[in-house]
Amino acid sequence: MRLALISAAVVTVLTGLAGCTSSTGTTTIPSVTAAVPKPANAADLTAPPSAAVQECGDKLASLRPLNPMPKPGAMPGGSTMEKIVQRGKLIVGVDQNTYNVGFRNPFTGDIQGFDIDMARSIAAALFGDPDAIQLRAVTSDQRIPMLKSGEVDIVVRTMTITCDRLVDVNFSAVYYEAQQQVLVKKNSGFTGMDSLGGKRVCATKSSTSLRNIANAPSKPIGVSVSDWTDCLVMLQQGQVDAVSTDDVILAGMAAQDKYTEVVGSSVAAEPYGMAIPKQNVDFVRFVNGVLEQVRANGTWKDSYGRWLDGLIPGPPPAPPVPRYKD
């Protein structure tokens, strides 16, 4: 009897210990949803960007060019141009993402395009050397801050002249006249901004295009990104239904993706100017002088022919006619 008690006690202790080995459970395999990758800083527009459509008279009228223009390397003493020449390089804010306007050529790694040709003519006028130039890739929303801080001398980056930007910076005379349009996938059925009500439409942050999307009567949903090519990535990945910006930028996207097309009539006119820090009035006049030369000596026409002619339908346009106030 006692032996039975003892063995019972031992058995109890042992089984208690054995009980420590874990109980088995069943694992259900949860269904996961694929997380779609997004470009950096891609965001849906919650509120339309401040529509600061101020009245500022003729915004396209720039300052009259220097006459006579100084010879390369012989800039007037104390001028902005002289400072740049002494530094040895013209620092230009450009795009490296807009095909055939300002883009990084994958074969060479160099930044090229229509905007870059324009910037190089300014370097040529300053130094006599179009390569005396430092190209800094800026995003749309970095353009004005970098001009204000003096990190760049000039921005040549598909920049539309607007009244609210004129508060912060000066613009050269118009050097290209773009029209905002819409890029969609072929056979998507979209015919223009009017048919994109409630659809997601991409543009870069702080661009006039984004504001125009937000203010379109059809009420599309604006999606903002850092660089224009990010919009094409999102269109290809099905994260947006359309891209809306200037025809010249859209033409570059359509050239990279044969399954897309530019549709609809112009949403808004987008006259491009080169932006220059507010205080450098002499440089604005100098640049306008360079643009006069560029238009007159065929550089503009050649550059258009090289980069844009095949992309944009219709015969090559004449260079824009400048307007000046004093």
């Binding site: 060479t108 800094r136 990279q256």
Partner: protein
């Protein structure tokens, strides 16, 4: 037993037990029972406790230890893959075959280490929401898909390629690397937990051993008073076995504790500092590359580089203070020298880039020129890899020492517990027989 039978018929069981304890045979019987129960229980619990310690050491050697290495390898190879893939876009044209090979090697290494990390966990751990393993295994294929899309577009001369590469890099920096970091932190936590388990003070073992001895002493004192015999062979044998068991377990436990302490000092603490230094190195390298890719507007990356490189210097100094081995010390000293060389090269690179000599800056960053950043970075990475390898080896050796110290303890403790039970029962049974 027969003497209690007629009483048991009249009285209740409680009464029966009380009556029993008043008689000498009753007490002897109770003592025998107590000794068997205490002896066996102590043996079982001590064996279990030793076994738990051994299990913790086995985990350190085969699970948490290797897994922390796997987690670090995942971070390293992912980070290096991204720096390499982004760097391929710095120079024009197709990436050199060596760059592509390095990227492919990194991805292969990351997938393999990830498979090991996943296999070691319970399915429920892997499927838990927010588990770093879910993020890593779900997003790594997406990342490689984006990189290939980037390459295809680049091959066709389209600037779209670099946009895909940027998206891939964003995915890496915002999802994959934080998950890899979390996984690494988790695994390092596990190593520490296992070390605590293995190096626990042997309270249970000591208390149980002393309890057995206590009961044996009481039994012997009682037997001596009642029987006037100084020694009871069975009880003496049981006491001897209990003493041996206690000493054996204590010696084993304390040498394990000492070895586990060494495994921290010579191993895991140093490995952790060095691993964090390596992660900082990789971050700084990615920052350097992305600053150049951003082409003039990479201030956010450059600021991060400054911050990360500062913490890298701090970590290397910390590592130097903790080094316990000559070979590792040489490696860490070399790592410090190479960090300085890198920072000097980086300064020159920034000067070139900020001065508008982008091509010269790129050459410093990607080509294996003597004063280039990639040369210094690769040397630094090698130093850290070697130093980590050597401290890992020290960690493994200490854990092996600890395991060796426990070798055979479970068997010995179980046998000795049996000796205690049998000896005590036999010794008391001898006396009990005199009352029949």
């Amino acid at each position: 037993m027969t003497i209690t039978n007629h009483r048991a018929a009249r009285n209740g069981p409680l009464r029966q037990v009380t009556e029993l304890t008043r008689t000498t045979p009753g007490v002897l019987g109770a003592l025998a029972l107590l000794l068997v129960v205490v002896g066996v229980t102590a043996g079982v619990f001590t064996a279990v406790s030793v076994q738990r310690r051994a299990q913790a050491l086995a985990d350190l050697a085969t699970r948490s230890g290797p897994l922390s290495v796997a987690a670090q390898e995942i971070y390293r190879s992912l980070s290096d893959a991204d720096a390499t893939a982004s760097g391929a876009f710095l120079a024009g044209g197709l990436e050199p075959p060596a760059v592509r090979a390095r990227y492919e090697q990194d991805i292969a290494q990351a997938s393999n280490a990830l498979a090991i990390a996943v296999a070691a966990r319970e399915p429920a751990d892997v499927t838990a929401p927010g588990s770093p393993l879910t993020t890593l295994s779900g997003q790594l294929p997406v990342y490689t898909g984006l990189v290939e899309t980037a390459r295809v577009n680049n091959r066709q001369g389209l600037p779209l390629g670099i946009a895909y590469q940027r998206e891939a890099s964003t995915l890496m920096r915002t999802q994959l690397l934080p998950a890899a970091q979390q996984l690494y932190d988790d695994e390092v936590g596990r190593v520490s937990t296992d070390q605590n388990r293995a190096g626990e003070f042997p309270f249970t073992e000591l208390l149980l051993g002393l309890a057995v001895l206590g009961v044996l002493v009481v039994a012997q004192v009682y037997v001596r008073r009642r029987t006037n015999r100084v020694f009871n062979v069975g009880l003496v044998a049981a006491t001897g076995a209990a003493v041996i068991s206690l000493v054996w377990v204590s010696v084993a436990a304390f040498s394990v504790i000492s070895s586990v302490d060494d495994s921290r000092i010579d191993g895991s603490i140093q490995v952790d500092v060095l691993a964090r230094a390596r992660i900082a190195t990789l971050q700084a390298r990615t920052d350097e590359t992305l600053t150049l890719v951003a082409r003039g507007t990479g201030k956010v990356y450059e600021d991060d580089f400054d911050q990360v490189s500062m913490s890298l210097t701090g970590l290397l100094n910390e590592a130097m203070g903790k080094v316990t081995d000559g070979a590792v010390s040489t490696r860490v000293a070399s790592a410090r020298a190479n960090t300085e060389a890198w920072l000097r090269a980086h300064e020159e690179l920034r000067k070139q880039d900020d001065g508008g000599n982008y091509a010269a800056a790129v050459r410093l960053a990607i080509e294996t020129v003597p004063d280039g950043t990639s040369t210094a970075f690769n040397k630094l990475d090698t130093d850290l890899r070697e130093a980590i390898g050597q401290t890992r080896a020290a960690f493994n050796a200490r854990i092996r020492d600890a395991s060796d110290a426990l070798g055979g303890t479970v068997v010995v403790v179980s046998l000795l517990a049996a000796v205690v039970a049998v000896g005590a029962t036999a010794g008391l049974w001898q006396r009990l027989k005199e009352y029949r």
